[in-house]
């Protein structure tokens, strides 16, 4: 139902998205049978394609060029995909979105090479755009994302974390790439600097809301819907916003420690998730996400009226309330 709702939001730009989807397949087509198989596996596992959509919509505030937009959108989606392949190595994950991960199907080394291959193809795609600002922004974004991941490892299994630490982490983990998707879409279509700035801020706020909802869903959703075990963040040693609120509660602490150290049984995992759901932490986290969403919407409201503006507003609202 939820997926259908998202698809209906994409109706207005279905053609562009289909074009990008085909370009994605072409870009990762490889002479290596294993990489080809792995890349197709990743593409078919799907995803919401939020980054390409933000690029498409943002570029409509300037002079829209389907080819340039596709190059940027393909590049961003591939960078995202490559980082997921490497994340699965780091988190030792066997399943993502209900599909076997590359590292599980083959091994870590193949996952490293596949990720590096996809990353290189992302740069081949965007390399055709001869705009310094585009490359400098993307390079900075990639380095910041990487730094965010390094910091996440530093924070792994650490209980002593603050609200600010969490926000900094999710900024780099998710919000930056969404913010850059909007900024790059606008830049590549030569939108005015003011529009570029507003879209960049929109992407950032929407990205923060998106990640908070993602962290909430990790607790409120089911293994089946998530395509991985619910509570994976805690099992991987990561405190997220809902769990930050209750990390010091004596009833919750034994679960927290056991999940961080891999000794939590499946029954205990269920009890832990029930505890978090009933603690009020989900509602508190949802309120923070809503605040970011309001900020995102406020940025879009200031943009010139057009179809893309309406779509951005609808998608932003969907992202903040989504159930998958």
């Amino acid at each position: 139902m939820e997926k259908l709702k998202l698809l209906s939001l994409y109706t207005g730009f279905r053609k562009d998205l289909t074009f990008i989807e085909k370009e994605l397949e072409k870009t990762v087509d490889s002479s290596s049978p294993v990489i080809r198989q792995a890349s197709l596996l990743l593409l078919r596992a799907g995803g919401k394609r939020i980054r390409p959509i933000f690029v498409i919509l943002s570029s409509q505030f300037g002079q829209y060029s389907k080819e340039n937009v596709a190059k940027v959108a393909v590049s961003l989606e591939l960078i995202h995909m490559a980082s997921l392949v490497h994340d699965d190595v780091i988190d030792n994950s066997d399943v993502r979105r209900g599909f076997e991960t590359v590292k599980a199907r083959w091994n870590n080394r193949i996952a490293m090479y596949t990720g590096d291959y996809i990353f290189s193809r992302a740069l081949v795609s965007i390399g055709e755009i001869e705009m310094s600002a585009v490359h400098q922004l993307l390079a900075e974004t990639m380095l910041e994302i990487c730094k965010g991941e390094i910091i996440q490892i530093e924070f792994q299994q650490k209980i002593d974390q603050t609200f600010r630490d969490y926000l900094r982490r999710i900024k780099r983990k998710t919000a930056l790439l969404l913010s850059s998707s909007c900024e790059l879409g606008a830049l590549v279509s030569n939108a005015s600097p003011d529009v570029v700035r507003k879209l960049k801020r929109f992407g950032y706020f929407a990205g923060m809301a998106f990640q908070i909802v993602d962290d909430i869903l990790d607790i409120t959703s089911t293994d089946e819907k998530l395509g991985k075990p619910a509570g994976s963040d805690l099992l991987n040693g990561h405190l997220t916003l809902p769990t930050l609120y209750i990390k010091d509660e004596p009833e919750f602490q034994p679960y927290l420690v056991r999940s961080f150290y891999g000794t939590l049984t499946d029954v205990e995992r269920g009890e832990m998730l029930t505890y978090i759901r009933q603690s009020g932490a989900i509602e508190r986290a949802q309120r923070v996400s809503d605040q970011y969403l309001e900020k995102a919407i406020a940025e879009v409201e200031m943009l010139p009226d057009c179809e893309a503006k309406k779509s951005l507003l609808q998608i932003a609202e969907f992202l903040g309330q989504r159930k998958f």
Partner: protein, 244 residues
């Protein structure tokens, strides 16, 4: 030029690459990333031979160094279990180094090189994957694969910046160095996940083929100083004259 000056230039370059890719958390956990002197030598070969070397070329060369650092560290990721903090940081370090390579090339707006280098990085990863998963058909095929992996990015650099006459020497020398290093460690060269290996005879054959190619290239390379020719032979043919 003498060997001292040559080594100094190589070490300066390596120091510059290390400075560009440095990240405090990673350095603390993983220590210094050793860069391959031989790769640095062949990347800088035109400079060492007195060719004009602009600031832009220097930045591009640093980017190639960053890519090699990324390859090296990703090759060290454990094939089955990368869940320790050290291994996790190895994955991310490689990604960070790749990001630095892109940032360096973006800073000089060399769009064509961004594309051609990325094409080559893709090809190298394909080659590594094939080597890991499939049996190689012949010595020639393995030589071809190792040439791509060991010298692909440097060849791309040389070809892009008008130094193609150094490419063949670089390719045969770096492949030869790979075979010689592997051979000196093990009589059987293992190259694949499934335990693919080459026999001693095949290794000897590869070394012999590459040595002949390199020697022929050096003879016809009139543009190259005699001192550098000697250095190349010293680096690439440590087994020459010794019983294998």
């Amino acid at each position: 030029m003498d060997r001292q000056l040559l080594n100094r230039k190589i070490q300066y370059y390596i120091r510059d690459v290390e400075q560009s890719i440095q990240e405090p958390i990673m350095t603390k956990t993983l220590g210094r990333m050793p860069l391959d002197d031989a790769k640095a030598f062949f990347l800088l070969l035109p400079l060492l031979n007195g060719e004009e070397w602009s600031e832009e070329l220097h930045v591009s060369a640093l980017a190639v160094g960053a890519v090699h650092a990324a390859f090296d560290i990703h090759d060290k990721v454990d094939i089955l279990d990368a869940s320790s903090k050290e291994q996790q940081l190895m994955v991310l370090s490689g990604d960070h180094f790749s990001g630095i390579h892109y940032k360096l090339l973006a800073s000089i707006s060399d769009f064509a090189f961004i594309t051609s280098m990325s094409e080559m990085i893709g090809r190298i990863n394909e080659t590594k994957t094939n080597l890991l998963m499939e049996e190689v058909e012949s010595v020639q095929a393995l030589i071809q694969s190792m040439t791509c992996i060991e010298s692909g990015c440097i060849s791309e650099f040389l070809n892009t910046y008008g130094f193609s006459r150094y490419t063949k020497i670089t390719q045969s020398a770096l492949a030869l160095i790979w075979f010689s290093r592997k051979f000196s460690k093990n009589a059987i060269v293992r190259y694949g996940w499934t335990g693919n290996s080459m026999s001693k005879t095949d290794v000897e054959k590869a070394i012999s083929i590459l040595t002949t190619i390199l020697q022929e290239e050096l003879v016809s390379a009139e543009f190259l100083s005699p001192f550098l020719k000697q250095e190349i032979l010293r680096l690439a043919t440590p087994l020459l004259g010794k019983p294998i």
